[in-house]
Amino acid sequence: MTLAAASHGFLSPTGVEIAFLLVGLVTLGAAVVTVTTKQLVHAALWLVVALGGIAVEYLLLTAEFIAWVQVLIYVGSVVVLLLFGLMLTKAPIGRSENADSGNRWAALIVAVASAAALVWVVTDAFRTTWIDLDGAVQGSTEASGRSLFQYWVLPFEALSVLLLAALVGAIVLSRKNDDRERSDGSERPGSGKQSGPREQSGSREQPGSRERPGDRARLREDQG
Protein backbone atom coordinates (compact mmCIF):
# COMPACT_ATOMS: atom_id res chain seq x y z
CA MET A 1 0.00 0.00 0.00
CA THR A 2 2.93 2.31 0.36
CA LEU A 3 3.20 2.17 -3.37
CA ALA A 4 -0.35 3.22 -3.70
CA ALA A 5 0.29 6.01 -1.25
CA ALA A 6 3.04 7.26 -3.45
CA SER A 7 0.86 7.19 -6.55
CA HIS A 8 -2.03 9.14 -5.04
CA GLY A 9 -2.00 12.75 -4.07
CA PHE A 10 -3.90 13.70 -0.99
CA LEU A 11 -5.09 16.97 -2.43
CA SER A 12 -5.88 15.63 -5.82
CA PRO A 13 -9.08 13.67 -5.30
CA THR A 14 -10.49 11.49 -7.95
CA GLY A 15 -14.05 11.78 -9.16
CA VAL A 16 -15.16 8.85 -7.06
CA GLU A 17 -13.75 10.49 -4.01
CA ILE A 18 -15.57 13.71 -4.69
CA ALA A 19 -18.80 11.86 -5.20
CA PHE A 20 -18.22 9.84 -2.05
CA LEU A 21 -17.53 13.00 -0.12
CA LEU A 22 -20.62 14.77 -1.34
CA VAL A 23 -22.92 11.82 -0.73
CA GLY A 24 -21.26 11.35 2.64
CA LEU A 25 -22.04 14.93 3.56
CA VAL A 26 -25.66 14.47 2.60
CA THR A 27 -25.82 11.23 4.52
CA LEU A 28 -24.27 12.76 7.58
CA GLY A 29 -26.56 15.76 7.39
CA ALA A 30 -29.58 13.52 7.08
CA ALA A 31 -28.39 11.46 10.02
CA VAL A 32 -27.90 14.56 12.12
CA VAL A 33 -31.36 15.80 11.26
CA THR A 34 -32.71 12.35 12.08
CA VAL A 35 -31.43 12.50 15.62
CA THR A 36 -32.23 16.13 16.21
CA THR A 37 -35.54 16.87 14.54
CA LYS A 38 -38.51 17.56 16.72
CA GLN A 39 -40.95 15.90 14.37
CA LEU A 40 -40.94 12.19 14.87
CA VAL A 41 -42.24 11.20 11.47
CA HIS A 42 -39.77 13.50 9.82
CA ALA A 43 -37.03 11.72 11.67
CA ALA A 44 -38.08 8.48 10.03
CA LEU A 45 -38.14 10.13 6.64
CA TRP A 46 -34.72 11.64 7.15
CA LEU A 47 -33.54 8.21 8.14
CA VAL A 48 -34.59 7.06 4.70
CA VAL A 49 -32.30 9.70 3.20
CA ALA A 50 -29.41 8.66 5.43
CA LEU A 51 -29.82 4.98 4.67
CA GLY A 52 -30.20 5.65 1.01
CA GLY A 53 -27.03 7.70 1.09
CA ILE A 54 -25.22 4.79 2.63
CA ALA A 55 -26.53 2.57 -0.14
CA VAL A 56 -25.04 5.00 -2.65
CA GLU A 57 -21.76 4.84 -0.76
CA TYR A 58 -21.86 1.05 -1.08
CA LEU A 59 -22.27 1.48 -4.81
CA LEU A 60 -19.33 3.83 -4.91
CA LEU A 61 -17.32 1.21 -3.07
CA THR A 62 -18.33 -1.29 -5.80
CA ALA A 63 -20.46 -3.36 -3.42
CA GLU A 64 -23.56 -3.32 -5.51
CA PHE A 65 -25.31 -6.33 -4.06
CA ILE A 66 -24.99 -4.94 -0.56
CA ALA A 67 -26.30 -1.65 -1.82
CA TRP A 68 -29.49 -3.14 -3.18
CA VAL A 69 -29.95 -5.24 -0.10
CA GLN A 70 -29.59 -2.08 1.90
CA VAL A 71 -32.22 -0.33 -0.16
CA LEU A 72 -34.58 -3.24 -0.02
CA ILE A 73 -34.32 -4.10 3.62
CA TYR A 74 -33.62 -0.82 5.31
CA VAL A 75 -35.41 1.68 3.15
CA GLY A 76 -38.05 -0.77 2.16
CA SER A 77 -38.94 -2.61 5.28
CA VAL A 78 -37.18 -1.29 8.33
CA VAL A 79 -38.27 2.27 7.89
CA VAL A 80 -41.78 1.18 7.09
CA LEU A 81 -41.74 -0.89 10.26
CA LEU A 82 -40.55 2.13 12.18
CA LEU A 83 -43.29 4.26 10.73
CA PHE A 84 -45.83 1.66 11.74
CA GLY A 85 -44.31 1.66 15.17
CA LEU A 86 -44.69 5.40 15.41
CA MET A 87 -48.28 5.15 14.37
CA LEU A 88 -49.11 2.33 16.74
CA THR A 89 -47.63 4.17 19.68
CA LYS A 90 -49.62 7.25 18.74
CA ALA A 91 -46.60 9.38 18.24
CA PRO A 92 -47.68 12.95 17.83
CA ILE A 93 -47.74 14.37 14.35
CA GLY A 94 -46.00 17.72 14.15
CA ARG A 95 -43.43 19.27 16.40
CA SER A 96 -43.12 17.81 19.84
CA GLU A 97 -41.00 19.91 22.14
CA ASN A 98 -39.89 17.10 24.38
CA ALA A 99 -38.52 14.77 21.78
CA ASP A 100 -35.13 14.92 23.46
CA SER A 101 -34.62 13.73 26.99
CA GLY A 102 -32.96 15.67 29.77
CA ASN A 103 -29.50 14.30 29.36
CA ARG A 104 -29.10 15.71 25.90
CA TRP A 105 -26.02 17.73 26.82
CA ALA A 106 -24.28 14.81 28.40
CA ALA A 107 -25.09 12.78 25.30
CA LEU A 108 -23.70 15.52 23.12
CA ILE A 109 -20.48 15.68 25.08
CA VAL A 110 -20.05 11.92 25.00
CA ALA A 111 -20.80 11.75 21.30
CA VAL A 112 -18.51 14.63 20.34
CA ALA A 113 -15.70 13.31 22.50
CA SER A 114 -16.06 9.84 21.02
CA ALA A 115 -16.20 11.28 17.54
CA ALA A 116 -13.08 13.35 18.10
CA ALA A 117 -11.17 10.46 19.55
CA LEU A 118 -12.26 8.00 16.89
CA VAL A 119 -11.66 10.38 14.02
CA TRP A 120 -8.26 11.14 15.37
CA VAL A 121 -7.41 7.49 15.73
CA VAL A 122 -8.82 6.51 12.36
CA THR A 123 -7.12 9.31 10.42
CA ASP A 124 -3.92 8.69 12.28
CA ALA A 125 -4.06 5.03 11.39
CA PHE A 126 -5.24 5.20 7.77
CA ARG A 127 -3.96 8.49 6.47
CA THR A 128 -1.66 6.78 3.98
CA THR A 129 -4.02 4.02 2.91
CA TRP A 130 -5.83 3.92 -0.38
CA ILE A 131 -8.48 1.61 -1.69
CA ASP A 132 -7.85 0.28 -5.15
CA LEU A 133 -11.22 0.48 -6.89
CA ASP A 134 -9.90 -0.09 -10.32
CA GLY A 135 -9.69 -3.88 -10.27
CA ALA A 136 -12.48 -6.40 -10.55
CA VAL A 137 -15.74 -5.42 -8.96
CA GLN A 138 -15.68 -6.60 -5.41
CA GLY A 139 -19.34 -6.81 -4.54
CA SER A 140 -21.12 -7.83 -7.70
CA THR A 141 -24.07 -10.09 -7.20
CA GLU A 142 -22.14 -12.93 -8.71
CA ALA A 143 -19.16 -12.50 -6.45
CA SER A 144 -21.27 -12.09 -3.37
CA GLY A 145 -23.48 -15.02 -4.19
CA ARG A 146 -20.50 -17.18 -4.98
CA SER A 147 -18.76 -16.50 -1.70
CA LEU A 148 -21.97 -16.58 0.27
CA PHE A 149 -23.01 -20.00 -0.93
CA GLN A 150 -19.52 -21.35 -1.15
CA TYR A 151 -18.03 -20.34 2.13
CA TRP A 152 -20.84 -18.96 4.24
CA VAL A 153 -23.60 -21.45 3.76
CA LEU A 154 -23.77 -22.68 7.27
CA PRO A 155 -23.91 -19.24 8.92
CA PHE A 156 -26.42 -18.21 6.28
CA GLU A 157 -28.74 -21.05 7.20
CA ALA A 158 -28.25 -20.38 10.86
CA LEU A 159 -29.23 -16.82 10.18
CA SER A 160 -32.46 -17.98 8.64
CA VAL A 161 -33.25 -19.80 11.88
CA LEU A 162 -32.47 -16.62 13.76
CA LEU A 163 -34.83 -14.68 11.57
CA LEU A 164 -37.52 -17.26 12.09
CA ALA A 165 -37.06 -17.06 15.83
CA ALA A 166 -37.24 -13.29 15.69
CA LEU A 167 -40.38 -13.53 13.64
CA VAL A 168 -42.04 -15.82 16.12
CA GLY A 169 -40.86 -13.70 19.02
CA ALA A 170 -42.17 -10.52 17.49
CA ILE A 171 -45.54 -12.12 16.86
CA VAL A 172 -45.73 -13.50 20.38
CA LEU A 173 -44.82 -10.18 21.89
CA SER A 174 -47.10 -7.99 19.91
CA ARG A 175 -50.09 -10.27 19.64
CA LYS A 176 -53.19 -9.20 21.49
CA ASN A 177 -53.92 -11.25 24.50
CA ASP A 178 -57.05 -13.08 23.42
CA ASP A 179 -55.75 -16.47 24.38
CA ARG A 180 -56.34 -15.87 28.08
CA GLU A 181 -59.96 -16.71 27.56
CA ARG A 182 -59.23 -19.99 25.87
CA SER A 183 -56.40 -21.16 28.09
CA ASP A 184 -54.92 -20.23 31.39
CA GLY A 185 -51.96 -18.72 29.61
CA SER A 186 -49.54 -20.83 31.48
CA GLU A 187 -47.75 -22.04 28.37
CA ARG A 188 -46.73 -18.49 27.58
CA PRO A 189 -46.31 -16.73 30.84
CA GLY A 190 -44.79 -13.66 29.28
CA SER A 191 -47.51 -12.80 26.87
CA GLY A 192 -50.17 -14.40 28.95
CA LYS A 193 -49.78 -12.01 31.81
CA GLN A 194 -49.54 -8.87 29.81
CA SER A 195 -52.87 -7.38 29.11
CA GLY A 196 -53.17 -4.20 27.23
CA PRO A 197 -55.53 -1.34 27.61
CA ARG A 198 -57.14 -1.97 24.31
CA GLU A 199 -58.66 -5.29 25.12
CA GLN A 200 -61.50 -4.61 27.45
CA SER A 201 -63.38 -7.49 25.98
CA GLY A 202 -60.71 -9.94 27.03
CA SER A 203 -60.22 -8.92 30.62
CA ARG A 204 -63.31 -10.20 32.33
CA GLU A 205 -61.45 -12.32 34.77
CA GLN A 206 -59.01 -9.61 35.69
CA PRO A 207 -60.59 -6.75 37.50
CA GLY A 208 -59.79 -3.24 36.57
CA SER A 209 -56.38 -2.98 38.09
CA ARG A 210 -54.71 -4.37 35.03
CA GLU A 211 -56.23 -1.86 32.70
CA ARG A 212 -56.04 1.18 34.82
CA PRO A 213 -52.54 2.40 34.05
CA GLY A 214 -53.24 2.19 30.40
CA ASP A 215 -56.64 3.78 30.80
CA ARG A 216 -55.25 6.58 32.78
CA ALA A 217 -52.45 7.03 30.34
CA ARG A 218 -54.95 7.32 27.58
CA LEU A 219 -56.95 9.79 29.60
CA ARG A 220 -53.87 11.84 30.18
CA GLU A 221 -53.10 11.70 26.54
CA ASP A 222 -56.53 12.92 25.68
CA GLN A 223 -56.22 15.80 28.06
CA GLY A 224 -52.75 16.64 26.83
Binding site: V35, I54, T89, A115, V119, P213, G214
Partner: protein, 132 residues
Protein backbone atom coordinates in the same frame (compact mmCIF):
# COMPACT_ATOMS: atom_id res chain seq x y z
CA UNK B 1 -10.01 6.04 -2.90
CA UNK B 2 -8.58 7.19 0.34
CA UNK B 3 -9.60 4.77 3.09
CA UNK B 4 -10.02 7.65 5.52
CA UNK B 5 -13.17 8.84 3.74
CA UNK B 6 -15.38 5.86 4.47
CA UNK B 7 -13.73 5.32 7.80
CA UNK B 8 -14.32 8.86 8.98
CA UNK B 9 -17.82 8.86 7.59
CA UNK B 10 -18.50 5.65 9.49
CA UNK B 11 -17.13 7.16 12.66
CA UNK B 12 -19.23 10.26 12.32
CA UNK B 13 -22.37 8.31 11.54
CA UNK B 14 -21.71 6.06 14.49
CA UNK B 15 -21.32 9.01 16.83
CA UNK B 16 -24.45 10.65 15.49
CA UNK B 17 -26.27 7.42 16.20
CA UNK B 18 -24.69 7.35 19.61
CA UNK B 19 -25.97 10.82 20.31
CA UNK B 20 -29.39 9.76 19.18
CA UNK B 21 -29.42 6.74 21.43
CA UNK B 22 -28.41 8.81 24.42
CA UNK B 23 -30.50 11.88 23.75
CA UNK B 24 -33.75 10.74 22.18
CA UNK B 25 -36.75 10.24 24.36
CA UNK B 26 -39.02 8.21 22.16
CA UNK B 27 -38.05 4.57 22.07
CA UNK B 28 -38.69 4.31 18.36
CA UNK B 29 -36.34 7.20 17.69
CA UNK B 30 -33.78 5.38 19.78
CA UNK B 31 -34.24 2.37 17.56
CA UNK B 32 -33.66 4.59 14.53
CA UNK B 33 -30.42 5.78 16.06
CA UNK B 34 -29.40 2.20 16.62
CA UNK B 35 -29.99 1.60 12.94
CA UNK B 36 -27.69 4.47 12.16
CA UNK B 37 -24.97 2.95 14.29
CA UNK B 38 -25.39 -0.42 12.65
CA UNK B 39 -25.13 1.15 9.23
CA UNK B 40 -21.96 2.92 10.22
CA UNK B 41 -20.49 -0.43 11.11
CA UNK B 42 -21.71 -1.89 7.85
CA UNK B 43 -20.04 0.87 5.94
CA UNK B 44 -16.80 0.13 7.70
CA UNK B 45 -17.11 -3.56 6.92
CA UNK B 46 -17.71 -2.97 3.27
CA UNK B 47 -14.92 -0.43 2.96
CA UNK B 48 -12.37 -2.67 4.58
CA UNK B 49 -13.52 -5.63 2.60
CA UNK B 50 -12.99 -3.73 -0.60
CA UNK B 51 -9.67 -2.41 0.59
CA UNK B 52 -8.35 -5.79 1.64
CA UNK B 53 -9.78 -7.57 -1.43
CA UNK B 54 -10.67 -10.48 0.75
CA UNK B 55 -11.03 -13.72 -1.17
CA UNK B 56 -13.79 -14.94 1.11
CA UNK B 57 -15.60 -11.58 1.05
CA UNK B 58 -15.93 -11.89 4.75
CA UNK B 59 -16.75 -8.20 5.12
CA UNK B 60 -19.65 -8.28 2.73
CA UNK B 61 -20.99 -11.53 4.05
CA UNK B 62 -20.84 -10.16 7.52
CA UNK B 63 -22.61 -7.03 6.34
CA UNK B 64 -25.41 -9.13 5.00
CA UNK B 65 -25.62 -10.96 8.27
CA UNK B 66 -25.64 -7.70 10.13
CA UNK B 67 -28.47 -6.42 7.99
CA UNK B 68 -30.41 -9.57 8.71
CA UNK B 69 -29.75 -9.32 12.40
CA UNK B 70 -30.71 -5.67 12.29
CA UNK B 71 -33.98 -6.58 10.67
CA UNK B 72 -34.65 -9.12 13.38
CA UNK B 73 -33.66 -6.60 16.01
CA UNK B 74 -35.96 -3.95 14.68
CA UNK B 75 -38.81 -6.41 14.62
CA UNK B 76 -38.31 -7.58 18.17
CA UNK B 77 -37.52 -4.07 19.32
CA UNK B 78 -40.67 -2.65 17.91
CA UNK B 79 -42.69 -5.46 19.41
CA UNK B 80 -41.22 -4.67 22.80
CA UNK B 81 -41.88 -0.98 22.39
CA UNK B 82 -45.46 -1.70 21.45
CA UNK B 83 -45.87 -3.88 24.50
CA UNK B 84 -44.39 -1.22 26.74
CA UNK B 85 -46.66 1.34 25.24
CA UNK B 86 -49.65 -0.87 25.73
CA UNK B 87 -48.88 -1.46 29.39
CA UNK B 88 -47.53 1.93 30.31
CA UNK B 89 -49.23 4.26 27.96
CA UNK B 90 -45.93 5.75 26.98
CA UNK B 91 -42.87 4.76 25.05
CA UNK B 92 -40.57 7.38 26.54
CA UNK B 93 -37.31 5.77 27.50
CA UNK B 94 -36.48 8.11 30.35
CA UNK B 95 -39.78 7.43 32.06
CA UNK B 96 -39.19 3.73 32.30
CA UNK B 97 -37.47 3.95 35.64
CA UNK B 98 -38.37 0.86 37.58
CA UNK B 99 -34.70 0.06 37.87
CA UNK B 100 -34.16 3.08 40.09
CA UNK B 101 -34.13 2.58 43.82
CA UNK B 102 -36.98 4.37 45.55
CA UNK B 103 -36.28 4.42 49.26
CA UNK B 104 -39.68 5.93 49.98
CA UNK B 105 -41.42 3.51 47.67
CA UNK B 106 -43.20 6.26 45.82
CA UNK B 107 -43.67 6.07 42.11
CA UNK B 108 -41.44 8.34 40.12
CA UNK B 109 -43.96 9.51 37.60
CA UNK B 110 -47.42 9.55 38.93
CA UNK B 111 -48.61 6.02 38.78
CA UNK B 112 -47.86 5.14 35.22
CA UNK B 113 -44.86 3.44 36.63
CA UNK B 114 -42.29 2.16 34.27
CA UNK B 115 -41.20 -1.38 34.18
CA UNK B 116 -38.73 -3.11 32.04
CA UNK B 117 -41.16 -5.18 30.16
CA UNK B 118 -39.20 -8.17 29.26
CA UNK B 119 -41.92 -10.57 28.34
CA UNK B 120 -41.04 -13.27 30.82
CA UNK B 121 -41.54 -11.04 33.76
CA UNK B 122 -44.83 -10.86 35.61
CA UNK B 123 -46.25 -7.49 36.20
CA UNK B 124 -46.30 -6.16 39.72
CA UNK B 125 -50.02 -5.96 40.13
CA UNK B 126 -49.89 -4.64 43.67
CA UNK B 127 -48.28 -1.48 42.45
CA UNK B 128 -51.08 -0.85 40.06
CA UNK B 129 -53.59 -1.43 42.80
CA UNK B 130 -51.79 0.79 45.19
CA UNK B 131 -51.59 3.48 42.60
CA UNK B 132 -55.24 3.10 41.83
Amino acid sequence: MHLAYPAVLAVLLFCVGLYGVLARRNAILVLMSVELMLNAVNLNLVAFDVWLRDKLHAGQALTLFTIAVAAAEIGIGLAIVLLVYRNRGSSDVDRLRDLAERPDGSDPDDGSDPNDDTPGRPRPDHRAEAAA
